[in-house]
Symmetry: D2
Subunit: 136 residues, 4 copies
């Protein structure tokens, strides 16, 4: 299993008039979690795109447990439970507030796709190598 935590400060822009974080904003926080998790491995998603791949989101689910509030320093936990063998990768993501209470959790499925041909492919070898030690 691979797990990584990063933090995000809730901006005023992220709140709505219910005085909580707008529900779709957490999806952006999830993006930040995946990006930082990959960076922690020594690769950037930016590089992956430079290698000619894109990783579109094809499915996501999210459950909201309690509100996120303005100026909260949220912890985004990004988990890979399995090393994907196919063109599909599932990120399990959880967001906690400063009291370590769950704010929301979800699963985001992305595909590995060759940008030029828009055909599905598998995880690029350099990323796979970096992840392998977490799954032995």
């Amino acid at each position: 299993m691979f797990s990584f935590d990063n933090q995000i400060r809730v901006r005023y822009a992220d709140t709505d008039q219910m005085q909580v974080v707008y529900h779709a904003k957490f999806i952006e926080y999830f993006e930040s979690g995946r990006t930082e998790a990959i960076r922690h491995l020594g690769i950037t998603y930016k590089e992956i795109e430079e290698w000619g791949l894109i990783m579109p989101v094809v499915k996501l689910t999210i459950e909201y447990a309690r509100p996120g509030l303005y100026d909260d320093l949220l912890t985004i936990r990004t988990i890979l439970k399995e090393l994907p063998d196919s063109h599909s990768i599932d990120f399990h993501q959880e967001i906690y507030n400063e009291a370590e209470k769950l704010v929301c959790k979800g699963t985001v499925t992305l595909f590995f796709v060759e940008k030029a041909t828009r055909t599905k492919c598998t995880m690029p070898a350099p990323l796979r190598e970096k992840l392998l030690p977490y799954f032995n």
Copy 2:
């Protein structure tokens, strides 16, 4: 069953560098769909809040079928398959492009909550009355 369609023009702001609509943006389009569906019934979500209720999103799932593109005139279809009896309401939502191809679909679950006490409640009677004819 109750079903309502409204339309949204994709803004430049909604796109990302993959040259498609950013995946979280569709969640905002879903919001617009629910709002316009309720307005079509003769009630506004704004009024519901004035009655002392709020309707936080507690769960959502979304599957992406094909990209949304800049300047697309998207059709948001918002469907209630059942008239809710409890504090929970499920909106089934679909987004189609101008070629009538599915872009994405999902389900958004919201709770009816009393704003003052933050306790769950049921659908306000005026909204229930408007919806009843669609479920007989």
Copy 3:
């Protein structure tokens, strides 16, 4: 002078916890105003990009007169006071609420740029032709 009005419904996503439209959101509404103004002339900004041009925003000013509120049906007024001769175009934009009161106004300056070379150019001839009658 060329002037065009379009309308936008304020979404929940656009509000912040001050219970008004977040100040940066109006910049997106301005974008919608420019897009619809051009469409009204029989050209789309999408086409302009297909012709190999892009129009980056290089400068903007905005003054806020009164709050925009959730569910407001705002009117975006987009005005060209002059037909530009250079690589630069100034859109004057105003936003009014349903009571016809000014919400905010601003000026957005964009450049005409050749996408391939990133060099400045002038307004594409087809757009110029459509605009000419408004300036005679």
Copy 4:
């Protein structure tokens, strides 16, 4: 003079199909800059709201010098050139990329307003005390 720098990582969500940061996003980065500048002084904007004040943005100007790119680690510089005596405060803000090149700069004017009465007021004393040493 008071000046403070903080950093922001550009998210995919912040880009548009011109493959740069969408122009209105920098206004959100400016917000983050002001928030972190105040936090650096030992006060949070959240506290200011708890004291019964709000600080709506009343005017802003921004000039774009070069594009912000996906995954850039941008530096937001937030400057107070004067200690405000009235109900109005001007933040001068600049954004630099990792090559220390200017991406954009602007000025954001906010008012101090009593939330309950919506009347203008002056800078809260605790904030003024923290800022005074920078202006002697």
